[in-house]
Amino acid sequence: MIKRRARLTAAAILAATTIMLSGCSSSSSPTAESKGPADITFWGWAAGYDKSVALWNKTHPDIHVKYEAVTNGGAGGYDKMLTAAKAGNAPCLAQVGYETFSSFLAAGVLQDVSTYVEKDRAEFPNWVWNNVGVDGKAYGVPVDTAPMAMFYRTDLFTKAHIAVPKTWDEFAAAAAAVKAADPSSRIMNLPTDPYLYAGFAWQGGAPWFGVKGDSWSVSFDSPANRKVGDYWQGLFDKGLLTSYPAFDASLYSAWSKGTVWAEVGPVWSASLIRDNAAGSTGKWGVAPMPRWAGSDAVGNSGGSATAVMKDCAHPKEATEFAMWMSTNNDSVSNLIASAAILPASKSGLANSALDAPQAYYGGQRIYQLFRSESAKVNDGWVWGPIMSTSATSLGDGLGRIHTKKGTYQDALDGAQKSTVTALKSQGFSVS
């Protein structure tokens, strides 16, 4: 009986292989150089991208862009793109956040389009170009950036006579003052989301990665990172911060109720706070991110680019569209209105939509502040080639801080170790 079953199994496996070779595999038809309009598929998830694509198609009959909405990158969109690239049916263009860009590069799924963007180099500052390629090469076109600032409850700060902190020392003093003014309130929530925390490291001149010749350097455990981590650990140990999970309803409710008075976050926190803390409409204001002594540098947390994928048959046309989407006045206006982005391009930043007063922020013209801060973002930040590993490891470590079973330093050390191990096992050079 066993022998017969083994034979049956063998037959089944044989049949399986045959089917795999012939039937089950989806046939991907490579688009031949056609004479008609170039077809470009574009995967993204941000609101408003579809409208910009429609605008383009109306005015550019020769290059047809087909937009397909996918899940948000971090929530599975990137996995889908990587898997599609492996299977050979990836789109021509893809929305890729700066934090993931290097990982896509290292996965070998992107295409060098440096020659096509050369004429528009001046459109973006250097620190932005650094996020879409290494060694001065470009593999996509930047869309938006996310410089950080301090969102705070103007009403509560005024009532408690606490001055808006301009430096991190002043912020620590203000944190103590907030607790003294109202023992049930804290100045801010513990930053434990790895990508949000990256913005603080970015500002502090504490890069996690670097490129030295032909190898990566990993520096989660650098003295500069220790300094930034120790700062937040110090505030937490003194009981000056709340410890709600990042992006959780409990934090939103604390913002709304006024038990958390401020949030140092990127430009997209503006919509996050507005949409989730409706109870405090008109009571928030925005001030520049507190500075480290002796530096005027700002951090950035987020922003994305339109990446050109490796198998794209029309990279020139694809780049042309991507550049248009990031710089054309109508497209940028649409993106600002639909997704509240802060444009990365200089022509986009000149858009008058950014001058509009924001009702939720008491009529403050908050995007003017972000416009000027975006020029001060620290230049030396490089994202690593396996951010998914690094960020989950760091996130696991940061997630333990509120249980007092770990510290910022432990989290950074853990990220250092797992990143170096993973890099080496995948054959990258690490210096």
């Binding site: 496996i13 049949a15 795999m20 996995d79 070998g108 333990r400 054959g427 050079s429």
Partner: protein
């Protein structure tokens, strides 16, 4: 990427398992081999339309992905320098397997699901058995209502259940925590120590009814005469239920046990959903979470290896349970 044993879904409905039709053919020693073979061919031809659709799906979505994962697990992607100049896929032998057995994250995740399983599976099956016996007993009233009521949690997708329970567990939102607080008990459902129990609780809530129905269906098949005979011998009530009914539904009990073990090892939805209220829940909490993390890291070969190890482990465990139970029936 597919995970042998059903992919990242926790505890789906059971796949119907058919016995291979050849087993049912009793071969008489006098029939010659030729007529025997002819008869088998005829039977096969008759059975084909019924078996083929299942077999085709089984091959396409189960055997091929499993084989592909197995193949992938013996390769590794190697890069050089910054990794921007492309990569090569090289044969890695058992390197990935060596790495899996040194991967503390993955081993810890196996330990966690084993711990959750040891606590939760016996408890859930015991509750399910009691409920099934009560439904089956002659004294039961409103049987249909209770059958549906027990089954309802199973109808709710795992993610939704996870979300709702997350709200009940979240330290600052939970009405339960607040109630306990006002009574002077400061408990957290999401501390490191409490997490396995919180997850086990969701599982028990969602799956007890499902198992109850499986057992109840088996109980319905116990012949009335057997129970009458038992009653004549003076065995009634709970005693009859435990000593006469339960041994007769052993196959159903075994099936629920094996499904539960498989389901626990494939745990994903509940902990993945709870992560939003429990940041201390590691991103490699369960084996499938750890495997998905490898996929996100673009390390498909390692993910394949993790899947194969998990699949093999589940396979060995299931066989072991069946074996152990078969021995006990024989003796």
């Amino acid at each position: 990427m597919t995970i042998p044993g059903g992919g990242p879904r926790s505890r789906g409905p059971p796949l119907p398992r058919t016995r291979s039709s050849s087993e049912k053919v009793t071969v008489s020693s006098v029939t010659s081999a030729v007529t025997n073979r002819r008869r088998r061919l005829r039977e096969l031809r008759r059975a084909a339309p019924f078996v083929l659709p299942f077999l085709l799906l089984f091959v396409c979505v189960y055997l091929i992905p499993t084989g592909y994962s197995l193949e992938q697990s013996f390769f590794a992607v190697k890069r050089s320098g910054l990794g921007l100049t492309g990569s090569r896929t090289v044969f890695a032998g058992f390197d990935n397997y060596v790495q899996v057995f040194h991967d503390t994250d993955f081993l810890d995740s196996l330990g966690r699901v084993a711990f959750i399983g040891v606590i939760q599976v016996p408890l859930m099956l015991a509750i399910a058995l009691v409920l099934a016996l009560m439904l089956d007993s002659a004294a039961a009233r409103g049987g249909r209502l209770f059958r549906v009521a027990y089954f309802v949690p199973y109808g709710l997708p795992g993610v939704i259940a996870g979300l709702v329970w997350s709200f009940l567990y979240a330290p600052s939102l939970s009405p339960v925590t607040r109630l306990l607080d006002s009574a002077g008990i400061h408990a957290s459902f999401v501390s490191d120590a409490a997490l396995p129990f919180s997850i086990a609780n969701i599982l028990t809530w969602a799956w007890t009814g499902y198992n109850t129905i499986l057992m109840y269906a088996a109980l319905q098949a116990v012949p009335q005469e057997t129970m009458e005979a038992a009653a004549l011998d003076g065995c009634t009530g709970w005693k009859a239920a435990l000593l006469v009914k339960v041994p007769q539904i052993r196959p159903a009990l075994l099936m629920t046990l094996v499904f539960s073990i498989i389901g626990t090892f494939q745990l994903y939805n509940e902990p993945a959903t709870m992560k939003s209220v429990a940041p201390n829940l590691s991103s490699t909490y369960t084996p499938i979470m750890a495997t998905l993390r490898s996929v996100s890291s673009n390390n498909f070969n390692y993910a394949a290896t993790q899947s194969v190890v998990l699949g093999a482990l589940i396979c060995v465990l299931s066989v072991a349970v069946f074996r152990a139970s078969a021995k006990r029936t024989d003796s």
